[in-house]
């Protein structure tokens, strides 16, 4: 396959289509995934190719959707359960964290639960406190769940394809503001393995660690900083379980400075884990404490003027790095 221009949304759709063609155990189960084509249009058209038995429109019954996916995964199917918003995680965490995540362990390794829970999160549509959250922290804190959060079009494709081959449950969180992101990609070209972080931009003064939408925010900050003579290395984690500390530590040991950027709330969120790990593993090389730029510890307000101010921005990253390096 040659280079093609694809959006993040199209790449996800392509990944589903390619995987479903290769593996007919894959079924997509969720609200409006079939005829409607997905609330964010990811599955649009797939029902015409694969039929209603493989794009299963469901009632608005999130716990039963995830629970049914668990049962289906245990009996020969490879379900992709779609949760329309990650904000609804509070309805399904029992099925996800008490059931899907623990079944292999509780049953002594007899069986696994190879399901993918696709969902999307983040701010950007002034959709309010119950439709704009970044709740990957809850998932990351649950042993047994793999967690992928693609930042690029290529990763939207490859991480989803890879997720659909894993033997254990994967939570796959897209970002609502990335669906229209467009890139020229060659889907045939192998990307990094599952669980490996990507260096999106090399630099020697400071390491910016990010994932999902914050990667491009960090990239833009790095670009702006570069104009001021500060070279920032931008690392895209790609998966939060597993966490590729090797790549991160190698960079931080070189730069001596690290800033973690996350759209989830600050306290007890993913950024805290990264600070803890980086500090544990790179302590002697750190010239400053690892800093966290994350969402404010508040619900997301609807008012667009406030909404944009709740999450890290390019200028916040820039200012922080400048201050950190005393420039």
């Amino acid at each position: 396959m040659a280079m093609q221009e694809l959006t993040y949304r199209e790449a996800l759709r392509q990944a589903l289509a390619d995987a479903m063609t290769e593996d007919n155990r894959i079924v997509v189960i969720g609200e409006e995934v079939g005829i409607y084509g997905g609330a964010y249009g990811v599955t649009r058209g797939l029902i015409d190719r694969f039929g209603a038995e493989r794009l299963v429109d469901t009632p608005i019954s999130e716990p039963a959707i995830v629970g049914a996916a668990v049962g289906a995964a245990m009996t020969g199917l490879r379900p992709v359960a779609e949760l329309m918003y990650v904000d609804f995680l509070g309805l399904v965490l029992d099925q996800l964290a008490n059931q899907a995540a623990k079944i292999r362990y509780m049953f002594g390794g007899q069986i696994g639960v190879p399901l993918v829970l696709r969902t999307q999160g983040g701010t950007g549509r002034s959709a309010g406190a119950q439709h704009s959250q970044s709740l990957e922290g809850w998932v990351m804190h649950t042993p047994g769940l793999r967690l992928a959060m693609p930042a690029t079009v290529a990763d939207a494709y490859h991480l989803l394809r890879h997720s659909l081959t894993l033997p254990d449950p994967v939570v796959f969180i897209e970002h609502k503001a990335l669906y229209t992101r467009k890139e020229a990609v060659d889907l045939a070209v192998p990307v990094l393995p599952w669980g490996r972080a990507a260096i999106r931009c090399a630099g020697s003064d400071v390491t910016l660690v990010a994932y999902s939408r914050m990667v491009s925010v960090a990239e833009r900050a790095a670009e702006a900083l570069s104009n001021e003579g500060i070279e920032a290395e931008v690392i895209d984690l790609r998966t939060l379980n597993p966490l590729d500390m090797e790549t991160v530590a190698k960079s931080v040991i070189r730069t001596g400075h690290a800033v973690v950027v996350s759209e989830a709330c600050l306290t007890a969120g993913p950024a805290a884990e990264l600070v803890a790990r980086i500090t544990e593993e790179c302590f002697d090389f750190l010239e400053d404490p690892v800093l966290r730029l994350a969402a404010e510890d508040i619900p997301v307000p609807v008012s667009p003027a406030l909404e944009v101010a709740t999450i890290p921005t390019v200028s916040l990253i820039q200012d922080t790095v400048r201050r950190m390096l005393n420039r």
Partner: protein, 340 residues
Amino acid sequence: MNDRPNMPLPDLYRTMRRIRSFEERVAELYVRNGTAGSMLHLSIGEEGAAAGVCAALRPDDSFTTHHRSHGIFLARGADPNRMMAEIAGKSDGYCRGKGGSMHIADMALGHLGANAIVGGGIPHAVGAGLSYRRLGSGAVSVAFFGDGAMQQGVLYESMNMAALWQLPVLFVCVNNQYGMGTRIDRAAARTDFAERAEVFGLAAMNVDGENVGAVFTAAEALIASARAGRPGFLCVSCFRFYGHGRMDKSPYRSAEEEEAGRRRDPLLTARNALIERGLATTAELDAVDAEIANEMDATIEFAIAAEPPPLSAMFDDVYAPGEVRPEPMRMRLERILACT
């Protein structure tokens, strides 16, 4: 149309017109303002449910609503200016611009809150019923929700609790036939929703939402029953005239189905009934409509002119005033960087 002597059909017409007129302006607001929340769900076609049930409530009664609830709040007597300002995310809105269309609330009018989680507000009404029973207030609480919520487990838990504890609660399903692109018969094998409530021990009725009088009459009876300790369930059948949200052009249903659905227009039906019965003339009703149109035009101007909330408001209301507040990111960074 039902002929109960206390049925205020002219008032119900006016209420329904206000809702329709407001909702038409909401669509317009988005185009003109651009800053409103992206999540706007119009209740055109559902005016009979909103007007009929709310007219049967006492001022001290309360209610929770779902995401498609502008009409219900207007029927309760909301100030359309403050509503429109809230939808636009402005400081003059009911929730100071933080809640928007899907999280509008007003304690003064007993609106315990709209909810963006399908089914999310239902158990709150049960809790309110528990309060009213315990405090002996005599009030009733109502949970409004869509047909989509008929497939949410918490509804059954809530109905069971209300029935078991004989709470003054009414469950109202605004059955507009669709949850997004899914018609009720693709969401449930049996779609007689009243029977689902009855087996839990509720007084349950289905009613045609095209007929606002019938809704009012049914709601009156069920609210009286709830007030006396037998909670109820009312399923109001109607039709969602437009798409689920702004962007949805409803490709999943036929033009014929839409047309047939829109013919079930509670507003038109009430208008015809008023005229037929000699309760109003066409000219009088046109005057009402025009007056309301003017009022609703003004709401957009009000909302557009209103100020967005100040940035400082961001950290208010996470906790009660006087309690430990969240530390803003910039201050935190400042503090940390100052030490090192």
